[in-house]
């Protein structure tokens, strides 16, 4: 029985999300992947994709189609996708505070406050150790202290690992913000000045407010935070921060599938964490985050370069106003 379950999960993933993620750059994915698909008629255009076991294969374009939405009729925004477990790996050795992740996030979620949902902290453990840049977003903890304290079940944990907020239900008590040790939650102290853009986008995409697209729209007097972009995953694309990063710092994927990708490179999650000694923030608190960090050793980028971008007092660019 269990085997059946895991088989069907594997099939689902093979056909759905996995390919979606891997083919995110092309925005398209193959209907099916297997040895039989390798036989292609001569002259037909092919596309290179990575299979689940990590080998590159050629797939004819005719076999490639739009990924259907992951959401089926059973989709429940409070339950999330079955048999998926979202996970992120942040490679600190690659981060030089380019801040593209932050501006992409701010833009896509129409963040208009003074506190971004994704912040790049200038960190230094002690004077004798090297400083480094640490992109920090909601850690989507498996034991989320914010969810524990919410009096009205406005913030909730889904089976796919996401911690989301129902802004229609939030009473604005801010207990979750006090409880979060990572300071990733922000409050809409005033009426968010998101302007017409959020509404136009909502109209174009026929969206209604849903907790799985945070900031669409934001509401005065409620708490906001990073949602791990399930609305992008649903389209077979990567979260905004992941695809915006010029240095490939962010890897996103599925823990069950044991795979993460930054769009260019794909790794086995377990191997990556073992090889690079991955860790999670404040592990001792027992919050069990879904975001892993790779230590800033053997750095591919220069820390000092990031200083030109560093602004201690600003994380949301409001120059458009």
């Amino acid at each position: 029985m269990q085997e059946n379950d895991s088989n069907s999960r594997r099939n689902f993933l093979d056909k759905g999300l996995k390919i979606g993620l891997l083919a995110a750059v092309g925005g398209a994915a193959a209907k099916a992947l297997g040895p039989e698909n390798k036989e292609t008629s001569v002259g037909e255009e092919t596309i290179e994709l990575m299979s689940t076991d990590g080998t590159l294969i050629q797939v004819p374009m005719s076999e490639v189609m739009e990924v259907p939405s992951l959401k089926d009729e059973n989709y429940n925004v409070r339950k999330g996708y079955p048999n998926l477990k979202f996970v992120m790996v942040v490679d600190l050795a690659r981060c030089k505070n380019a801040k593209q992740c932050q501006s992409a996030c701010n833009k896509s979620h129409y963040i208009t406050g003074d506190d971004a949902w994704l912040k790049i902290y200038k960190m230094q453990e002690s004077e004798s150790t090297a400083p480094y840049w640490q992109p920090t977003l909601c850690q989507h903890c498996d034991k989320p202290p914010c969810v524990k304290v919410c009096p009205v079940d406005a913030t909730f944990k889904r089976q796919d690992g996401l911690v989301l907020i129902d802004a229609d239900r939030c009473i604005g008590c801010r207990f979750c913000m006090a409880a979060c040790p990572y300071s990733t939650r922000v409050f809409n102290w005033a009426e968010p000045k998101q302007g017409e853009m959020s509404e136009i986008t909502m109209d174009m995409e026929h969206l209604h407010y849903s907790p799985d697209y945070a900031g669409m729209p934001s509401q005065k007097g409620t708490v906001d935070k990073c949602d791990f972009c399930p609305h992008m995953v649903d389209k077979g694309e990567l979260p905004h921060c992941v695809s915006a990063c010029p240095n490939g710092v962010f890897f996103f994927g599925d823990a069950y599938e044991d795979t993460v990708t930054n769009g260019d490179e794909t790794f086995r999650l377990s191997k990556l964490l073992k090889d690079k000694a991955g860790y999670r923030l404040m592990e001792s608190l027992g919050t069990e985050p879904s975001v892993y960090y790779l230590p800033p050793s053997n750095r591919l980028v220069d820390f000092e370069e990031g200083m030109t971008n560093y602004d201690e007092f600003k994380s949301v660019d409001k120059s458009d106003e």
């Binding site: 202290p145 304290v149 009473i171 604005g172 008590c173 207990f175 006090a178 409050f187 409620t222």
Partner: protein, 437 residues
């Protein structure tokens, strides 16, 4: 006029004099100012406060904790002292219950002021999750409010009957007191029922009182933050609450004694006893304070030391030491001497204790929030600090004025000294035609 009639004359509620009217007008002025500010807050959001994403709670919350703390005095004076057989506290029971009811009502309203979405208050009942300490608080505060009102009301029944008779030339008052007395005639059955109810309530209110303030402490202690992450927090809050409440009773009893010339009922002996009680409570609270600050200071972890340095020598140091010395050390030193327990010094110390208790809660809530685990970066410079904005102050003063107004109005219409109980203790109840002996 016999002793009993003059007792009633002394203790029956009186119309406001000029000072009383001015006082009510003054309170109403503050309350209307606060209401105006609150309307602005409802329209524009909590942006009108100085709270931001790091200092995410401010004086609304510390003021809420203060109200909860003050309200505990009801259980201290009426329940603990009553059950322990301390007869001297009889004249103070009603004052204590009035303060408790006013404070707990305002605690409930103050927490709503802090909400970003007060119109969704009913989500607490529709979607309430028992895992959240806020729901525990909602449950115990409501329970405490009900018990406190009953504990104020039941001992009033014979007094209402007495007042109904007393105001025989004022049909309106007579009608109201008559209705409120629930047809009290003083039969043995009624007496038994009343006494039994009061005894049950007095016992019930003690765990509930401990509950409200322990849960309020847990709103903080259930988080990871240095300064809040403490297993000492429940008893620490309760000890502090008794200090604050005793200070509150002393302050109010002194003012009422002066305003209504109750020197014969609230005597120097009561100030002496309350002074002694306050010393005891301060010593207990001092003990918990030492626990709360010394142990983390000894370990001196990076997070704790950042927090404690801010209090001991940093930006909060002047306020911190004023509160510790004024609200804790000074009362012990002054009140330990018989000369310090005269009405005027006790009153002054009591007032300082109340003000100190208010600021103490500010120091518990605010500094911790400004020392998060990750550095404060990427937010405007002003977000690194917190001091209440003007409108925040006005709204907060509005809540304090509302509490005082509730007390004032209750004092206007209720006998602040229990008439029936006092008469019984003085052995002059025979003349009371409402009580069949």
């Amino acid at each position: 006029m016999n002793a009993y009639d003059s007792l009633i004359k002394d203790l029956a509620p009186k119309k406001f004099g000029k000072t009383g009217k001015l006082w009510v007008g003054f309170l109403l002025l503050i309350i209307f100012g606060a209401l105006a500010c609150y309307v602005i807050q409802l329209r524009t959001g909590l942006i009108i406060t100085d709270m931001r994403d790091y200092a995410l709670w401010g004086i609304y919350i510390s003021n809420f904790v203060f109200f909860v703390a003050i309200s505990l005095v009801g259980s201290l004076i009426t329940a603990i002292l009553r059950l322990s057989g301390a007869k001297w506290s009889t004249p103070l029971t009603r004052i204590a219950e009035i303060i408790a009811v006013a404070a707990i009502i305002m605690a409930g309203l103050t927490i709503i002021i802090d909400m970003g979405r007060p119109e969704r208050l009913f989500n607490l009942f529709i979607h309430g999750r028992l895992q959240s300490p806020i729901i525990w608080d909602v449950v115990v505060i409501t329970t405490y409010l009900v018990i406190s009102i009953l504990l104020l009301y039941y001992p009033l029944l014979p007094d209402f009957a007495i007042l109904k008779r007393h105001f025989n030339n004022n049909p309106k008052m007579q009608k109201w007191y008559g209705k409120l007395s629930l047809k009290w005639t003083g039969t043995i059955t009624q007496q038994k029922l009343k006494n039994k109810s009061i005894r049950i309530l007095s016992i019930m209110i003690i765990p509930v009182a401990f509950g409200i303030h322990t849960v309020t402490a847990w709103l903080f202690a259930t988080t990871y933050r240095p300064g809040w992450d403490s297993s000492n927090f429940g008893p620490y809050f309760i000890a502090g609450a008794f200090v604050a409440g005793a200070g509150g009773v002393i302050t109010v009893m002194y003012i009422l004694r002066r305003a209504y010339h109750l020197e014969a009922y609230i005597t120097a002996k009561h100030f002496d006893k309350m002074g002694k009680l306050l010393v005891l409570l301060c010593l207990i609270y001092l003990y918990f304070n030492i626990n709360e600050y010394l142990v983390p200071a000894y370990k001196n972890t990076v997070e704790e030391s950042a927090h404690l340095q801010g209090l001991f020598v940093g930006q909060y140091a002047p306020l911190f030491w004023l509160v510790i010395v004024g609200g804790l050390i000074l009362p012990i030193i002054v009140l330990v001497f018989p000369k310090g327990r005269k009405p005027i010094p006790v009153f002054i110390v009591g007032l300082i204790v109340v003000i100190g208790a208010w600021w103490k809660r500010y120091l518990i809530v605010t500094p911790t929030l400004l020392h998060p685990f990750l550095p404060i970066q990427g937010v405007p410079e002003s977000w690194h600090h917190y001091f209440p904005s003007l409108m925040e102050w006005i709204i907060t003063f509005g809540t304090l004025a509302s509490a005082l107004l509730i007390i004032t109005l209750l004092v206007r219409y209720l006998p602040v000294i229990p008439i029936h109980e006092t008469a019984m203790e003085q052995g002059i109840l025979d003349a009371d035609k409402t009580t069949k002996q």
